[in-house]
Structure formats: C-alpha cells, structure tokens
Amino acid sequence: MAEQNGGGSVLTKKEFVSDQEVRWCPGCGDYAILSAVQGMMPDVVDKRENMVFISGIGCSSRFPYYMNTYGMHSIHGRAPAIATGLATARPDLTVWVITGDGDGLSIGGNHLIHAMRRNVNLVILLFNNQIYGLTKGQYSPTSEIGKVTKSTPFGSLDRPFNPVALALGAEATFVARSLDVDRQHLTSVLKAAAAHRGTSFVEIYQNCNIFNDGAFDLVAGKEHKTENQIRLEHEKPIRFGANNEKGIRLSGRASVEIVDVEQAGEENLIVHDVHREDPALAFMLAHIATGPTMPTPIGIFRDVDRPVYGEEMERQLSVAREKLGVGSVEKLLTSGDTWEVA
C-alpha cells in the first residue's frame, strides 16, 4: 500500500486495525478506547512503522496486538522502563505506553514515576478499571477503601491512589483524565497528549463489566454525568452542573471548593490554565473528588513545556563530541599504554 511520507497522511483508521481477533469480554470498555485510538492515529503518525505501542501485562495490555503498528507486549509493570529505552534510542519514533491500574500503579509504580520525572517523550495511557481484570478480580491500587474481592474478603484497607495527583506529584508535564464512553472527549484529550512534547499521562476511566461493573457510572453514566462531570477547559472558568450552576473557586484554606455560581459570582471562579508552571492548583483540583462517585474533574489538568529527556541527551552528546572530537573505536582500543608482546 502506498503510504505517503510528510505532506499529509493518506492513512485512515482502517489501516491501524490489525487482523488479530480481539480477546476482551463483550462489553468491556477497552473496545471503545481501542476504537478511539485507531480513529485518531492518522493524526499522530503518517507512517505506521514510526509508531510503537508498548504494554505490560493485563487485559488492557493486550492492546498492541490490535494495533497495526509496531508493538511490544512486555512483562508486568515494566513498560515505562522499556519505553524509556526505546524512545531514547530512537527519538524519531512515536512511542505510546498502554498500562492498567495494576500494571502501572502496583507492580510498575516505580517505573511509571521515573518515566514521568524524566519527561521522556511518551504518551502513557492508564486504563483505570479499579480492579485486576486479567487475574479475575482482585482489588487494585485504585480500588476504593473497603473493596471486597477474593483477595480482600473482609474489605481492603488501603487508601487508593489518585492517578492524576500521582502523575502531578511525579512532575509529569502533561496530565489528563478521560472516559471510555465519551469518544469525543477522549479523542480530543488524546490529540492534545500526542501533540505534547515530553511525557503525556492520560488516565482513562474504563469499565470492567465482568469484575467491577459500573465503577464509574456516577461520573460516566448518562443519568449523573451532568451533575458529576467537571469539564476542565483551558482559559475558561470552571463550571459544571445541569445548568452550569456550580463552579470551583479557591477557598481561603489553601484549597479549592465547589460553590454555587450565583452566590459566589462567576468572577471569583478559578479560570483553568493548563500551562500554569506550578502544579499546586492542578493538584488541588485533582483532589476535589476522592473517587469517581462525586463531582470529578475530567480533561487536561496540566500541559507545560519542560526539556524533553531525549533532546537533553542529544544535547549532551553533541557537547561531548565537540569537546572530545568524533570518537574512533580503533583509537579507543589502542589508547593508553600499549606493549608489544613477543
């Protein structure tokens, strides 16, 4: 097939669909995310061979099979480390990581924070279903306190991670949240994530209809979404509710609070600014909900410019070349004192 290089892509969604049989449970939220990603791929790369999907292990991590691009289905939790190596060795490639709440936040938590801290040029999609799907339903680091599963028959005791707050704490330069069920929102967030240079972290609420059905209904479901979705939009006052009657403002106590707009006055609401250097306000917004059962912000929390790891590496290498001259392997191997041995 003719694939045009530069000057606009001729690829369509169809070309990013692989011939593999998709092996997720019928009704799983992963299908919608797959379709959204395939649909926006022509906007991301103009050649399929320049695109790499790297995953760990989990239902979500089966993703690379279904993308007609390069892919690595690696080991549990390690995708961010593998992606760091790949993206740094080949800065010309577009590298996306697919991970789950278990893969990325339990066994792979360490790798995830360090990829974000380094600002490696990656897009990381964390499919959060608040459960271990593949191993048949144990609680995960995003499950709510008291979660009863077969490994926590008396209810879990652990306070869950807030993935957005975690990413902000790890200094991620692009942090967003979206939903499997909202194709339009998800696509726009994914496009922004793709356009960002450095690490883009996107948490996607994903329904696991087998082991944790309805976990996001209060935020994602038709019935409650208007009252519980706080849509973050750049340069706009943060408002939500059926009639946009609620808003968010700074409370006097170094925190943010939900207020009635009419009483508080629109001019007192926070005007969302994704480019704010200081992540403190984004962090406060991330904490306005303790879980997806109450008004919860979705959208882009942060999008700032920082040096990208691979570019910094390239800069160091060129400085070294300038100082030391272009190296020669032969010179290296015969450097220092040498002896002729009879």
């Binding site: 549990h76 066994i107 191993t135 048949k136 144990q138 680091p141 077969k150 490994s151 926590t152």
Partner: protein
C-alpha cells in the same frame, strides 16, 4: 480417617495454617492466585495476617519482615513471580531466616530456578515436589518443620494440576516441634542487654562476635548450608524396579502419569520401573542410583526441555545411558495444562526406549 474433598490450592492453604503459618503475602498470578485467595479468607480466623501485595517483590519483602519476628511465614507465586523474588530469597537465606515459598509453576521449566536458585551468592534451598494434593498437604507441613529446623527457606514446587485438582485429603494434626526462636526479633532482649540484628550482612551489631565481617558471616552461612545439605534426608518414591530393564524418572504431577503408564506396562509384562524424586534438593541421588542399578537404560520424563535429567545423569554416573522422553507440553493458555500428560503417550515413549 476423616477425609475431605478439597482443591489443591485450598488444601495447601489449610495445610500451611495447620503447620502454624500466620503470615502470608502474595500477588495474583495464575495458577497461584487461589492459594492467596484462600489464605486471605482463612488466616484472619486464626489471628493471622494475609496481604495482597503490589507485586512479588513486595510480597517476599513483607514475608521476610514477618519471618524475622519468628512468625511462621510463607509467600509464593508462579515462575515469573519467583524470578522477581530471587534477590530477596538469596538474601533471606544469608539472613538465616525461615520462610516457606510456593511455586505453583506453569509446567516444569522452573526446575533449575528452584533447585539452583536464580539469586546471587552461595546459598541453597530445600525443594519439595508433591505428586498430588494429599502429598502436598504432608510436604507443606514438612516444609515448615524444615525451614525452622535449618533456618533456611524451603520451596514447595507445584503446578496448575496441583492447584486445581480436587482430591480427598485426610488432615492429621501435625506434630509440631518446638523451635528455638532465640534469634528472632521478638521485642525482647532476652536479658542479654544486647540489641538483636537479623541481616544478610551478619547477626551482630557490635564487634563482639563476627561483628560486621562479611568473610566470617558468609563462612558461617556456608557451614550452615553444608550442615543442612548433609542433614536433610532426601526422599524418593520408588516402584516396580524388580528386574526392571528400563527405569523412568519423573517428578511432581507428571510422576502420576508416568507411574500409571509404568503400572499398565508391567501388567502387560514389560519390565519397567519408576522412581520419583520427592526432594528435588537435596536430590535423592542414592535412591535414584540404586533404583537404576540393574537397568539397561534410564529414561527421564519432564515437562520442560530437560533440566532434572542433569541430576539424574549425575546420580547414574554413566552406568547406564539416560534418555530424555519429555519435552515442553502446553495448551494455548500457557498455564501448564499438558496434552502430553496422557498414559498412552507416555507408554509409547517408554516402549520406544525398549527398542534402543
């Protein structure tokens, strides 16, 4: 006998609790997951703690911490998870701590990992490989005895079949020896006025005995390992070896199928015998050598590409040729269900050895 029908994972969980285990940590992985889930359900009822860790690295770390207090502790996983545990396992051995570790493996490719260890340094583990659920119950109990007797981790090597087969089990109350826990971090100083240290780098805080001297500490660990290796009785299950021309060696679940194939061949008058190492380390070399003494050929069946065969060859020491009749056999899930584990298949392979 009060028999109960139990699936292996549940029987193993109950056996651990019966043997005194009061701390368990693990991370889900097929086919190990159900052991963790049963421990999570059962341990609180006996004042024990079960933790669903965030990975195998943490699971063994948690178990290490519990073990240091003298609490009978265990952890486990499946081969991949055991790979992650190797650093800790090696260091726990050098810290001279008791710990029972389960590998509900996928097939038998982890024989080397279990018997040689994938960690660093000069250490060994006792390895027990049950053939079925009732034997697993016995060996789990033995594992706790051995781990406290030698203050050295003990591995129990099972598989998908063991974890997921239901069999009738007779639980006898285990006769537990009182273990000396003088070394444990129990919150008391034992009247010596000296703080205790449990560490892979030495057992003393001050320069009173070995102090911080790795040469002395590692030498004492090596001596303890040598004493353990000499002191543990290797176990083997031997059958049909009278006038056997061919002796077949297998361990774990495949042992059941090999034993059935050998029995069927014997019924047809074929002179074939069978030996099954129960302790994979220390390997029952003498028992294997004795069983194979009169044999013209020795055959080894393993569900891997040939690992235990090295130990069989070392036991037989060239007295008879050793043929490999195994090979990796998996269904598409990769969890260790083996199409080759079929008495007809095994019969045919054994019969072929007779033609050599």
């Amino acid at each position: 006998m009060t028999a109960r029908l139990l699936e292996g994972s549940e029987a193993i969980a109950e056996a651990m609790i019966g043997a005194g285990c009061r701390f368990f940590a693990g991370y889900p992985m097929t086919p190990f997951t159900e052991v963790l889930e049963h421990m999570a359900r059962l341990l609180p009822g006996v004042d024990g703690v079960c933790m669903n860790a965030e990975s195998e690295l943490e699971a063994i770390g948690m178990a290490w911490g519990a073990a240091a207090t003298g609490t009978p502790a265990a952890t486990g996983s499946t081969g991949q998870g055991l790979s992650l545990m190797q650093e800790s396992l090696a260091e726990i051995t050098l810290a001279r701590l008791p710990l029972v570790v389960l590998n509900m493996a996928r097939a038998q490719g982890d024989y080397f990992q279990a018997t040689r260890g994938g960690g660093h340094g000069d250490y060994r583990h006792i390895v027990l490989a049950p053939i079925d659920v009732p034997e697993a119950v016995e060996l789990v109990s033995l594992a706790f005895d051995l781990t406290f007797r030698w203050r050295n981790p003990v591995l129990v090597f099972g598989d998908y079949y063991l974890a997921h087969t239901a069999q009738s089990v007779d639980f006898r109350p285990p006769a537990r020896a009182d273990h000396d826990l003088g070394w444990a971090l129990d919150g008391r100083s034992g009247g010596s006025g000296q703080a205790k240290l449990v560490s892979p780098l030495g057992g003393f805080k001050r320069k009173d005995q070995s102090g911080y001297n790795l040469a002395t500490h590692y030498a004492s660990c090596a001596a303890a390992t040598a004493e353990m290796v000499a002191g543990v009785t290797p176990l083997a299950d031997v059958g049909f070896i009278d006038h056997a021309e061919v002796v077949v060696v297998a361990f774990g679940t495949p042992g059941r199928y090999v034993r059935a194939a050998v029995r069927a061949l014997r019924a047809d008058g074929v002179p074939v015998g069978y030996v099954r190492p129960v302790t994979l380390f220390p390997f029952p070399s003498e028992a294997v050598a004795r069983a194979c003494e009169g044999a013209r050929r020795v055959a080894v069946y393993e569900n891997n590409q040939g690992q235990m065969i090295d130990d069989v060859r070392l036991a037989v020491l060239g007295r008879s040729p050793v043929d490999f009749i195994g090979g990796l056999s998996l269904d598409s899930s990769g969890f260790g269900i083996a199409p080759d584990l079929d008495v007809q298949v095994l019969r045919a392979r054994i019969e072929e050895v007779f033609t050599k």
